[in-house]
């Protein structure tokens, strides 16, 4: 064990791919589309892709933090359904009639996001208090959460036209969809938290070496609790965006399969699924890559179903590359 500090200088293709693979893939996709896809270089295309990727990114932001601690949150889709079911019930006055529409919408947004956050805390409580593996603990709400949303609405579709609410899904500021702005804010805030705050550092430390983190005086249980709470909040916000876009809320569909999309974005973005290394910007890039692959396939005549298979392949490939980079 001499003072050689330069193992990193040896070129390792997996390490390189793990670091820059997503960026390269994204760049290649853009070049390919510029060359072969008609009307690709238009504001329209950018907006379509951004809007479609928004909810995934919002959820994936929370997921990145969770995975950063070495955990996982399977319940995000179900929590989206819960907040998506609860919000219309509030602003449509089904629970308590509220006269002022602004008040009603504000109450709906705040309460439903907080409820989703509370369910997230419940996940964290199971994990921190009982030391249940995250995948098992969040499975409970993965199963029960959608049921709760369905029971709340009796499985009925709630339709509505409340422009004050739907602003978050359909509104635009300077031509940019509000949800994109929302997404951008969340990405920036989360990236900042992860990089610049004590809390962010603690997340990575726990995922990187939980024993060492605890011995350094970090309150591991508390950090985990908060992280799952945040994941719940993110899911809650995403649920609102989805129903605002659709002008309706169907508890059977809101957030269905979102856990996989979010995990995929995180993995493709370069965050280690085993924890200890996380990047929010990477997650954003990962989500955009997956979205762009799908868009590329669809706009070149490949059926949606085949795109699913391709997506599965990308996920496996990304996770595999991450693992190889780690081993080397």
């Amino acid at each position: 064990m001499t003072d050689t500090t330069n193992q990193a200088r040896i070129f390792d293709p997996f390490d390189f791919l793990a670091r820059y693979g997503t960026l390269i893939a994204l760049a290649l996709l853009i070049v390919f589309n510029l060359a072969f896809t008609r009307n690709f270089a238009s504001m329209q295309t950018v907006n379509v892709n951004l809007t479609q990727v928004c909810t995934i990114v919002i959820v994936a932001v929370g997921m990145t933090l969770v995975i950063g601690t070495g955990g996982i949150d399977l319940s995000v889709g179900s929590l989206m359904a819960i907040s998506g079911a609860l919000a219309p019930m509030i602003f449509l006055g089904k629970i308590v009639p509220i006269e002022n529409v602004y008040l009603a919408v504000a109450a709906a947004m705040i309460i439903s996001v907080l409820v989703a956050g509370a369910f997230g805390l419940f996940n964290g409580w199971l994990i921190a208090r009982f030391r249940i593996q995250p995948i098992v603990a969040t499975l409970v709400l993965f199963i029960a959460g959608r049921g709760i949303a369905q029971v709340m609405t009796n499985g009925n579709l709630q339709t509505f036209r409340v422009p004050e609410f739907q602003l978050i899904g359909l509104g635009r500021v300077f031509g940019i969809p509000v949800q994109v702005i929302l997404m951008a804010i969340m990405v920036i805030v989360a990236a900042w938290v992860l990089k610049r705050t004590v809390f962010g550092r603690q997340i990575i430390a726990i995922g990187g070496n939980e024993r060492a983190a605890e011995l350094s005086g970090i309150a591991v249980s508390k950090v985990k609790l908060v992280v799952y709470g945040i994941s719940g909040l993110c899911a809650g916000i995403a649920g609102l965006v989805v129903i605002a876009i659709n002008s309706s809320s169907d508890a059977n569909l809101v957030g269905l399969g979102m856990e996989l999309d979010a995990i995929a974005a995180v993995a493709v973005g370069g965050t280690l699924l085993s924890g200890g290394k996380a990047t929010i910007v990477g997650t954003l890039l990962g989500a955009m890559t997956i979205q762009l692959v799908r868009y590329t396939l669809l706009s070149n005549g490949v059926p949606d179903a085949a795109a699913l298979v391709v997506k599965a392949g990308i996920i496996v490939l990304a996770v595999w590359i991450q693992q190889q980079g780690r081993h080397a």
């Binding site: 500090t5 610049r196 705050t197 004590v198 060492a212 011995l215 350094s216 200890g276």
Partner: protein, 510 residues
């Protein structure tokens, strides 16, 4: 007696660093052979080479008179060499029978013959006078019984050589006695046993010969009747009794007037089996050393002080006040730091940078409403990198890319940045190259000169004799002796570690 196993000139390097250099080892038919040595002496590497877990770089192995070459523990097992690992490697949820018979099940009409397997398991255990319900899951039994099951499994494979890696570390006295009967019985049946342990009394109780390893070499092999405990200890620690001084470490002279009041006092601490009764104290500005063989309870005592494990008995005082830490954060808040023995699993966060690792404990204090003060951090980190001479490409280099010595310095800096009053160092220089070793030692000394209390655990005798102002000797979980700097010669310490018979000297503080 005829030779069953002989290993000659075994070489094994890991990433260029030699773990075994020309090690030799031989075991006779029907003998119980002790294999001892310090941590890192190469015992476990030697065993792993033998059982095919590691591939040797060179050297010859003969087993039953034939060249012996295996590539996996399973193959070794099939050839008659069974290993019982320190952490019992069985499946706790499964029944005793399954744990004994897995891998060589009895079949009838192609299906498992449970009746016969239960009978076989019972019969095997009965050879050691163990009667138990073999249908029950293994986890319902205590560790000693589980150990018996592991042995029964090993013998069930008609082993000719059974390797026991510290089998007694979690057993109580009665259980050890049962195990020894088993070993004697194996011996009577012509089975050879390799017995790894750090408890010297045990070696005399059950072993015929002993091989002592140090630095990847076999130092000596002798009949147990021909070597006394002090001889064992001195060959293990690499000091011949006559050896005089001449400084081997970089601690240098210390001035007694730097030493102040008692900062930490611990009375009659006990935890699990590993620590029975440990009493010691540390004064500010003093380096207190813990000496003892492996398994003497030194690390376990430190863990209690730092709030990692709760003591089952005893009390502590810190700075004159009752002190009862429930978690490491409490110890840190009181003003302590702890550089653990296992840097990799308990110290560094490998994917994080040098700066991030260094600031892990201090970070919350330095932050303004949760936001990291990058500038202040940067200054501190750069100061420590300079002050401790940490060789890295910069504060942002990943800590896993650093050498062991530099990683250790980063961890030291993690605690020094906290401005602690007591620093616990567990094997601070293990696995570190000579240059960095000296730097760390002189750093520890200068810290003590500035008033820091240091509790240093070290298995290197010269580190304790030259570095510590007072030395507490622990033996099998009991603090058996305390020596001042002038009294603490290597001979005296080794005598206390081996025999533990030196009278207990009460601390000056009491």
């Amino acid at each position: 007696m005829t030779v069953l196993l002989s290993m000659i000139g075994i070489e094994k390097r890991f990433a260029g660093i030699p773990a075994l250099s020309g090690a030799s080892f031989s075991v006779n038919h029907g003998e119980v052979h002790a294999l001892i040595g310090q941590n890192g002496a190469g015992k476990s590497t030697l065993i792993k080479v033998l059982t095919g877990y590691h591939k040797r770089d060179s050297g010859d192995v003969m087993f039953e008179g034939k060249p012996f070459e295996v590539f996996s523990p399973q193959q070794a097992q099939a050839s008659g060499i069974s290993t019982i690992y320190q952490e019992i490697n069985l499946v706790p949820y499964r029944s005793v029978t399954e744990n004994i018979c897995l891998g060589r099940e009895a079949r009838r009409y192609g299906l498992l013959d449970w009746k016969r397997m239960h009978r076989e398991a019972e019969a095997l255990l009965q050879r050691f006078n163990v009667r138990m319900d073999v249908r029950r899951p293994l986890m319902e039994f205590n560790t000693a019984t589980q150990q018996m099951v592991a042995i029964a499994r090993a013998i069930g494979f008609s082993a000719k050589l059974v390797i026991m890696d510290e089998p007694t570390s979690s057993l109580d006295e009665r259980e050890v006695a049962v195990l020894f009967n088993v070993i004697r019985q194996l011996k009577n049946e012509g089975v050879s046993v390799v017995f790894v342990s750090h408890k010297l009394d045990e070696l005399y109780a059950v072993c015929d010969r002993v091989t002592i390893m140090r630095d990847g070499r076999t130092i000596t092999t002798a009949a147990m009747s021909e070597i006394d405990k002090i001889g064992l200890v001195s060959s293990m620690l690499g000091r011949s009794i006559e050896k005089t001084d001449g400084h081997a470490t970089a601690f240098g002279k210390r001035d007694k007037k730097n030493i102040g009041k008692v900062l930490l006092a611990a009375d009659n601490l006990a935890v699990n089996q590993s620590v029975q009764d440990v009493t010691f104290n540390v004064r500010s500005g003093e380096i207190a050393g813990f000496a003892g063989l492996l398994g003497a309870g030194r690390t376990e005592t430190a863990r209690m002080v730092f709030g990692i494990d709760r003591p089952r008995a005893g009390s502590m005082q810190f700075d004159g006040k009752a002190y009862d830490p429930k978690k490491p954060a409490d110890a840190i808040a009181a003003g302590m730091g702890f550089c653990t023995e296992d840097r990799k699993s308990e110290g560094i966060v490998p994917e994080m940078s040098v700066a991030e690792n260094m600031m892990l404990a201090l970070m919350p204090k330095l932050a303004k409403s949760g936001i990291i003060d990058e500038k202040a951090q940067r200054q501190i980190v750069e100061r420590f990198i300079k002050q401790l001479g940490i060789k890295c490409s910069g504060p942002d280099q990943k800590v896993r890319e650093l050498s062991g010595g530099n990683q250790q310095k980063v961890l030291l800096a993690r605690w020094l940045a906290m401005n602690p009053r007591l620093l616990i160092l567990d094997e601070p220089t293990r696995g570190i190259d000579v240059g960095a070793k000296g730097e760390i030692q002189s750093l520890v000394k200068s810290l003590a000169d500035q008033g820091l209390a240091v509790l240093m655990i070290s298995s290197e005798l010269e580190e304790v004799t030259e570095g510590a102002d007072r030395v507490f000797v622990l033996r099998e979980g009991v603090s058996v002796a305390e020596f001042d700097r002038d009294e603490a010669t290597e001979n005296v310490l080794m005598a206390a570690m081996a025999e533990g018979s030196a009278p207990r000297i009460e601390g000056a503080s009491s």
